[in-house]
């Protein structure tokens, strides 16, 4: 009888051990062989940080909703797509039509201003980017709120698998809705002046778009932490995540708090969507799927329901994905290691759920048992 217990546990640890060993051997082999130059490594790290802060923003949406509803909002990746894809249709005129770039006078006031300052003036570019951010966040928030209202709210008391299946259905539906509405071909974002090329920060060369992403993500996360920790809404959110029924007894409008949670999560996803599009240039209808899965992994990594955990998880996961293939897979003599990048994230997920199911920082925002 004891033997069986030990077998399953042993098998789990054996699988984990083998993977860890492979990572170590691979890394050592790569490092001994010389591998990439220091500069190439640094680029990989910077790339990982920039993409990782996007993951973190999306992961926050998963974590917030999970903290409050105990459900995986599987369609969150599509909330992200909604922002990025919708903003594309604003980005095209804003950055490539002559009307908004100071070459035609159809809109006297705007056109004049743009003409006077020049389309590459930081203020003009900043205002346009803020406009895009508004569009992107607006689209994402709309989708998130509709999702909550139509698909999730009627299922508050349903067994756990029911909302999850609903969310999966909503995710597929939204993906193919975008494909139907906006077309199934990838679209390329226009070039944004000032964001092209590189700059140097603290002696490190970095793409300007990457810099923008990292700074914007950090700002947004700071705003979120402030919101959760120091505002009444944040207080209500934390109360609801501890215990919905008690919170309701205390006079908190639980439904309103849940809607606000979806708004906050949606806004972050929308921002992430725009930043993603500025960084990677391409948008398409299933663009949210992989980042969504990865961000969920990141949320679990940091401890789902845990706000700082989601941020840390996002950064860590993407860093690992970025550096990993070159670091240990190449050392294992695996050809075209970058192809396995996505497998790394899922392997991480498996490892974490085996060894530390509560994540790096542990579950929070109302720890749940069992």
């Amino acid at each position: 009888m004891r033997l069986k217990t030990d077998l399953t546990t042993l098998a789990m640890w054996a699988i984990g051990g083998v993977i860890l060993l492979a990572i170590v051997i691979g890394s050592v082999a790569t490092l001994r062989a010389g591998g990439l130059s220091a500069r190439a490594w640094r680029d990989l790290v910077v790339f990982g940080l920039a993409q990782g802060s996007l993951y973190a923003l999306i992961a926050l949406g998963y974590t917030l909703v999970y903290g409050i509803l105990r459900m995986i909002n599987f369609a969150h990746g599509e909330v992200f797509t909604a922002g990025a894809f919708t903003a594309y249709f604003a980005a095209v005129p804003l950055f490539s039509s002559p009307r908004f770039n100071g070459r035609a006078g159809e809109l006297p006031l705007v056109g004049g201003l743009v003409a006077a300052l020049g389309p590459e003036h930081p203020v003009i570019v900043g205002v346009k980017l803020l406009l895009l951010l508004a569009v992107s966040m607006g689209a994402s928030v709309t989708v998130a709120v509709l999702l909550e209202r139509i698909a999730y709210r009627p299922l508050r008391r349903a067994p756990r698998l029911v909302p999850l299946i609903t969310a999966i259905g909503a995710s597929i539906f939204l993906q193919y809705t975008f494909a139907g509405l906006y077309g199934s071909n990838p679209q390329t974002y226009p070039d944004v002046p000032l964001l092209a090329g590189k700059t140097t920060v603290l002696g490190v060369e970095i793409l300007r778009a990457q810099l923008l992403v990292i700074v914007a993500a950090a700002l947004l996360m700071a705003v979120l932490v402030f919101l959760v920790q120091y505002t009444r809404t944040g207080q209500a959110m934390r109360a609801v995540s501890e215990d919905k029924d008690t919170a309701a007894l205390m006079g908190i409008d639980v439904d309103a708090v849940i809607v606000r949670t979806f708004i906050v999560g949606g806004a972050l996803a929308g921002a992430a969507g725009l930043l993603y599009a500025l960084l990677n240039k391409q948008v398409h209808f299933y663009m949210g799927f992989q980042p969504g899965l990865k961000a969920f992994t990141a949320a679990v990594l940091g401890g789902i329901g845990n706000v700082p955990g989601a941020m840390l998880g996002g950064l860590f996961l993407r860093l690992f994905e970025s550096v990993g293939p070159s670091l240990f897979l190449q050392g294992l003599k695996i050809p075209a290691a970058y192809q396995l990048k996505d497998a790394i994230a899922f392997t991480m997920l498996v490892l974490i759920l085996i060894f530390r199911p509560t994540g790096i920082l542990g579950e929070r925002l109302g720890a749940k048992r069992a």
Partner: protein, 587 residues
Amino acid sequence: MSRSLLQHPSLRSGLIAGLVTVFLGLVGFLSAFQDDALLVGHLLGANRSLTLGTAVVLAALIWAGARAAPAGRPGWPAPRGPLYGALAGLVAALVLAAFARLGRSVDLRAIFPKASPELYDMVAFSGGAFAGEAGWELLRLLILGAAMGLLGALWQGLAPRSRRLATPAILLVLGLGVFAEQFLLVLAHNGIAEHFRGWLFLKGGGLAAPGAILVAVLAVAAGLAAERGWTPRQALARQAPARRRAILSLGWTLALALTLVLPWLLGSYHSDVLDTVGLYALMGLGLNIVVGFAGMLDLGYVAFFALGAYTAAVLTSKESFLAPCIRLVEGVCAEHMPLTGFWVAVPAAVLVAGLGGVLLGIPVLKMRGDYLAIITLGFGEIIRILAQSDWLRPYLGGSQGIAGIAPATIPFSGIAVAGLRKPQLLFYLILAACLLAVFIARRLRDSRLGRAWMAIREDEDVAEAMGIHLVMTKLMAFGTGAALAGLAGTLFGVKLTTIYPHSFALLVSINILALIIVGGMGSIAGVMVGALVLVGLPELLRDFQDFRWMAFGAVLVWMMLNRPEGLLPDAERRRELRPEGAPAAAD
């Protein structure tokens, strides 16, 4: 004031119907079906056809009227029904008119590629034979909307009995119309299509008016007969027990015989569709053991399908890296082992997939509910990524996949399942596999193991406290489900003769899950129905392909909101999936 106005049923229903129609137009749904003639008839001096796309717009208007005017609803006396219905239709028509107007003045195509002038003509019922002045066009649209809304309201006001009789008739006519082309193909295959042309089906597809009327009359007659107890079931109940058994067994024999000749009646193309349905049903039966019986949401089920397919491919393909070894073995013992190729690959694939299920299961089965779902999804993706990678290309062929998979053979006859009759022959293999899976699923459900799975599904902690070894019991569900997927994978490889990694995408898992859910989780008959509806129909309705996934998503959400137990539920699951005390249908 404005709030109470918004609450008005006419306004709400009209807006919803109008906006949904606009949505369907923008995603391209309406235009995609603009070429499918449903009904063709002589009207206003010319042959005119009702297309599926137009029918959807009309249905939306009728729906608005029906929804706005529920008969005898408290607070809204029935006499107002027709008025409210007409108003709702009018509102919906206004939305459509506004959309058409907007679309014609601003080019929406920069954002929505499907927003074509044809779409505006379609939703506004203008253009072509209806071309005319703008004002006249608007008036006509509004009158049409109001009339359709009125129709909906009148429908709602019909006695339940009349509706009960009319519904099947309408559905039958629509079904025949939608699938007219398919019916004609099957009839042509049997050389009797000419007998049905002209009066039932028309050349270009679609149902002819006399045929439609005949079908409707027959359906109503059948309904009337059923009311008087003239159904086969009741007729059977009137027989003496011994005779009843005899009739029943005769019926079963006939059904079996019909199933056996079915592929030859249907012809190659439709047999191929049937094969696909069968494969999905097979996988559905396997996943049903995991999800329906044991309550574990597995989103990576396709991984085992892939394991089975790749195992079979590696063992039987001429291009496989193992091919030299296999030839060697065959050369040595071909005389003693006549069964090589397919019949060796089947048990091997089942074994590999089943073992894969157990191995992957060990680390993940300690997770609960939604964690399990995500982690299995991750596993499914890992398998696909690995199969696609250059790393394993020497063995699995990378993104090129493995071609040249050997055909199956019908045992003891030496007939190879290949060539022109392949879909028909393959049907028998798939049918046998499905019957086997049904047998296994039923036996397991009614056993100690099945009860342990139900216990785990209901309450894991208590199940464990009652002496059930959770990991072992779950592993058995996982392993059995995986083994059936492996079997399906082998047949899949044989069917296509080439397998690619992209055949094993996440959407396949979702597809199988959806068919289980639509059929009814845990219900074996439900899996069959689900496979027919979710796999068969989209295959037949080619224009529907583009909207297949969107519809799947919508169906999943709708089912979970309104009918979580599925179309053909298993008794226990129905009880379980209804939250305490909730009525059967929320509004």
